[in-house]
Amino acid sequence: MGLPGGWSLENLLEISDLTTEFDTSDGVVRAVGGISYTVGLGETVAIVGESGCGKSVGAMSILRLIPEPPGRIAKGQALFEGRDLLKMSNAEIRDVRGRDIAMVFQEPMTSLNPVLSVGRQLTETLLRHTDMNEQKAKERALDLLRQVGISDPARRLTQFPHHLSGGMRQRVMIAMALCCEPKLIIADEPTTALDVTIQAQILELMRDLSKRLGVAQLIITHNLGVVARYADRVNVMYAGKIVETGTAKEIYHNPSHPYTLGLLASVPRLDQPRGTALIPIEGQPPDLARLDDGCAFRPRCRFATERCGHEIPELETVTGDHKSACWHYETLVQQNGTAA
C-alpha cells in the first residue's frame, strides 16, 4: 500500500523538525527548536526535561493548541497516520482532537470545566465526535467511569469537579480521553499534582488501559522515576531540543549526553542510602531568547570544548536507535564505561 510522506506502518505519529516560536518583548523565543521523534502503535514514549525545556509546547504544537499570535509553528511536520496535523484545516484538526488523539493535562482542577457536571463533560465529547444519541452517550459515560475505577459512577455523573478529589478528577480526565477510543493519548505531567500513592494508581490505570485497548501514549514529565517505570522509549529535551533518544534501558544504563548524565547524578534515589553524594548540574538553563549558534548545554557542561561554542551538535547514532546530540559522546561513553 502506498503511503504518503514516507510514513511507515509501525509509526502512529512521526514528528520531524518541529519548530515553535513565540514573539515576546525579549525578541523571538524558540521554545521548540526542530525536534523529531516517533511514537509507534501501542507504544509508550516519554519526553523528559525540566521546566522551560519546551516539552509541553512541543506536545501542544502537535494538536495545534498554541495560541497564535504570539506563538507560531515555524516549520516541521507532524504526521499522524500519514496525515500532516500541521497542515490540516481547523475543522479537520478539531475532528482529530479528542477522537484520534486525546489529551490528559496536569492540573485536573483547571482543565475540567467547573460549572458543568462530570456527565455533561463526558457526553459532550461523545455527542461531538460520534453519532450517539443522548441516552447512548450517557450509558457509554457510565461505562467509562467504571473502566477508570470510579466508585458509584451513576452518582458521579451528576456531580461537579469540585465534589471530587484530585485523583478522582484525574480519573475523569482519563475517562474523557478514552471517550472516542483514541489511538494516542498525550499526557502532560499527568500525575505531578498528585500524591505518590495516587500517582501510582493513575499510572497503573493508564498502563493497564493502554495494554488492554492498544492505545499509544506520549508521556511528558520531569520525573525520571515515572519514566523508568512506565516508558518504552525516552526522549530527553534541553533548551528546545532533543539531546538524547533511545530505549529506557539505554538512556538509564548508558547515558550518552552530558545533560542526561547530569540529571541522573543529581536526582536523589529511594534505593540509595542516606548521604549518597548528589552531583548537581551547576548553573541554570539558558534564556531561550538568547541562544547562540553553539550547544545550549555548553555553559554547564564539563566536557565542553571550543568546538561546542560555534557548532550545534545534531543527534548521532551511539548504538542502534540510541542517539545523542553531543560532539563528545564517545569520550563520555568511554569514561562512563571505565567508571562503572
Partner: protein, 342 residues
Amino acid sequence: MSAAEDMVEEDSLAEAEPLLRVEGLKMHFPVTDGLFLKHTVGLVKAVDGVSFTIAPGETLGLVGESGCGKTTVGRCILRLEQPTAGKVIFSGVDIAGMKTSEMSDLRQDVQVIFQDPFSSLNPRMKIGSIISEAMRVHGIIKDATERRERVSELLRICGLNPRFADRYPHEMSGGQRQRVGIARALSVNPKFIVCDEAVSALDVSIQAQIINLLEDLQKQFNFSYLFIAHDLSVVRHLCHRVAVMYLGKIVELADCDELFDNPKHPYTRALLSAVPVPDPEIEAARSHQILEGEVPSPINPPSGCVFHPRCPQAIETCKRDIPELQEFTPGHMLACPVVPRE
C-alpha cells in the same frame, strides 16, 4: 568521612539532650456552619497526638501525603498556630502556651524556609532588604553599613553574587529565590529551621544544588532541621531520622536507612513501593503494591486505626483499637499491633 566517624556522629546525636521535644501535640480546627449564628459542627483533627524529639544538629524528616498534618506540625512549632493540646518544648521551655509578646527570642531561634520561592518573598522589596529585615527588627546588627556587609556575606554563603542585594525577586530564577529564602532564615543565626517542602518546587538539577547547600550549612552551623516533604527520595538522602504521618498521627519513626530498608508499617511499605526508582531494570523487577482508595476525611476519621480501611493486613481489632506508637526494635517506633515481631 569514614564509616567509623559517621557512627560516632550518629551516636552523639542520639545521646544529646534534644533541642526540641514535642509531646502529645494536638491541633484541632473547628468546622463551623451558619452565616449569622456560627456554631461548630465538627472538628478537623489535623494533628492528633504527635510526639517526637530532635537533637542539636539533627535532621528529622516528616513525610506523608497531602492533608496528613505534616505542615500543621511545622506551623505549631513555629507558633503560627496555637496548639489545641500538648507540649512543644524548645531548649527546655514550653512554647505551646507562650504569649505572642514572649516569643521574640523564639522567632530568632526558629526559622522557616517555605516551599514556593515565588510567593514567599515580598515582590516590592529588594533582596538586600528582605534578608536584612529580621536583623533590623531583632536589633542583631544596628548599624546599616554592617548590616549591608552581613547581607553580602549571607548571599555568598548561599552561593549567590552579593550584587543580587540590589535586585528584586522577579529578576531571579526559582533556585536563586530559594537561596534568598535560606539566606533570610540564616540572618538571625537560628538553632532550628523548619523546611516546609523547601525543594519541592524546583527542577531536579537545581534541587540537587539546594539540597547540597542545606547539608553544607548544617555541617557549618550545626543547626537542626525539621524537613517536611512528600518526596521520599529527597528525605532519604537528607534526613537522620524519619517520621511517617497518616491522617494526623505518626505511624512509624526510625533512623533513616532503617526505615527505608526495613519498613514495618503497612502504610510505609505501600508508600515506599509507590515511589518509582530511576532505573528501568530495577523497576521491572520490583513488586508494586498499589494502595486502594484515598485518604479519608479528617473531619470524620475511621474508628480504631485510621489506616484500617485501606490496610491490606487489617484484622478485626484494627477497627476498634487505636494503636499506640511503641518501640518495635531499639530506635524503631511503630503504631501497628499486627506486624509480627521477629
